[in-house]
């Protein structure tokens, strides 16, 4: 009994770390997509670990196998639904022209990407490739030049 308590306690502790870290990330992250990343990944992981701990407790300590089966079903359903919901949120946000940002607040992706993504007739293979590094550098150079112009 003690062994089971220790094992499930370790699982629940790991899950608590995941869940709490995800919640902190949801508040602290600067951008929608980073928040999405923080929330969805840690929710799924935290749920998995906590549920494993609860299953161990239900099956061995509480002697209630039905509850263990129900928690296992919860894991199965949430592993289908939670990533789907996260994907749907991300897709809807991309459709609504919310653009991923990088450190200095400048857009990583060209705004034309989202416009092209909506237009399904065009060939997306060229767009979905990452933008050429020289182009990004030139974008940043332009942005810095703009900033200097504004400051002067």
């Amino acid at each position: 009994m003690l062994l089971i308590d220790i094992i499930s306690g370790v699982f629940i502790f790991i899950g608590c770390l995941f869940v709490f870290g995800g919640a902190v990330g949801l508040v602290r992250m600067p951008d929608f997509y980073t928040r999405l990343h923080a929330a969805s990944v840690t929710d799924t992981g935290g749920l998995l670990f906590i549920s494993i701990g609860l299953i161990l407790q239900a099956a061995f300590v509480f002697d209630n196998p039905m509850a263990a089966i129900k928690i296992a079903l919860t894991i199965v359903f949430l592993f289908f639904t939670a990533p789907t919901a996260s994907h749907a949120v991300a897709k809807a946000a991309l459709m609504a022209n919310i653009i991923p940002q990088c450190q200095n607040g400048k857009s990583v992706v060209d705004e034309s990407l989202t416009a092209l993504y909506k237009d399904k007739d065009k060939d997306l293979s060229s767009v979905l490739m990452p933008v050429d590094p020289p182009e990004i550098i030139s974008n940043f150079a332009n942005a810095e030049a703009d900033n200097k112009d504004k400051s002067t």
Partner: protein
């Protein structure tokens, strides 16, 4: 152990609620509510263990499904401005 679990989940629920209330865009709020749904599922399951009767996990099971349905309904509304498939009307989305 279960008490610590419940406390951690309530704390993270508070954090998630801060994002749901402050979130600059609607998608932030929706993401926060979706995440809160997952946390509520864990909270209900853990509360059953805390009070010594883990029979009530089926509420958590139901919640896991209902939360998904609500999120998808909201997203469908975002994307098409409508819940049905027949009328595509212009609105001020």
């Amino acid at each position: 152990m279960f008490l610590a679990l419940v406390i951690v989940i309530i704390l993270s629920l508070i954090l998630v609620m801060i994002r749901a209330l402050l979130g600059p865009t609607l998608y932030d709020r929706l993401l926060a509510v979706n995440s809160a749904g997952t946390k509520v599922v864990i909270l209900i399951a853990a509360y059953g263990f805390l009070t010594g009767r883990p029979d009530f996990v089926d509420i958590a099971l139901l919640y896991a499904l209902i939360n998904y349905i609500a999120t998808i309904a909201v997203l469908k509304f975002f994307e098409y401005g409508d819940l049905g498939s027949g009328a595509y009307q212009e609105d001020d989305l």
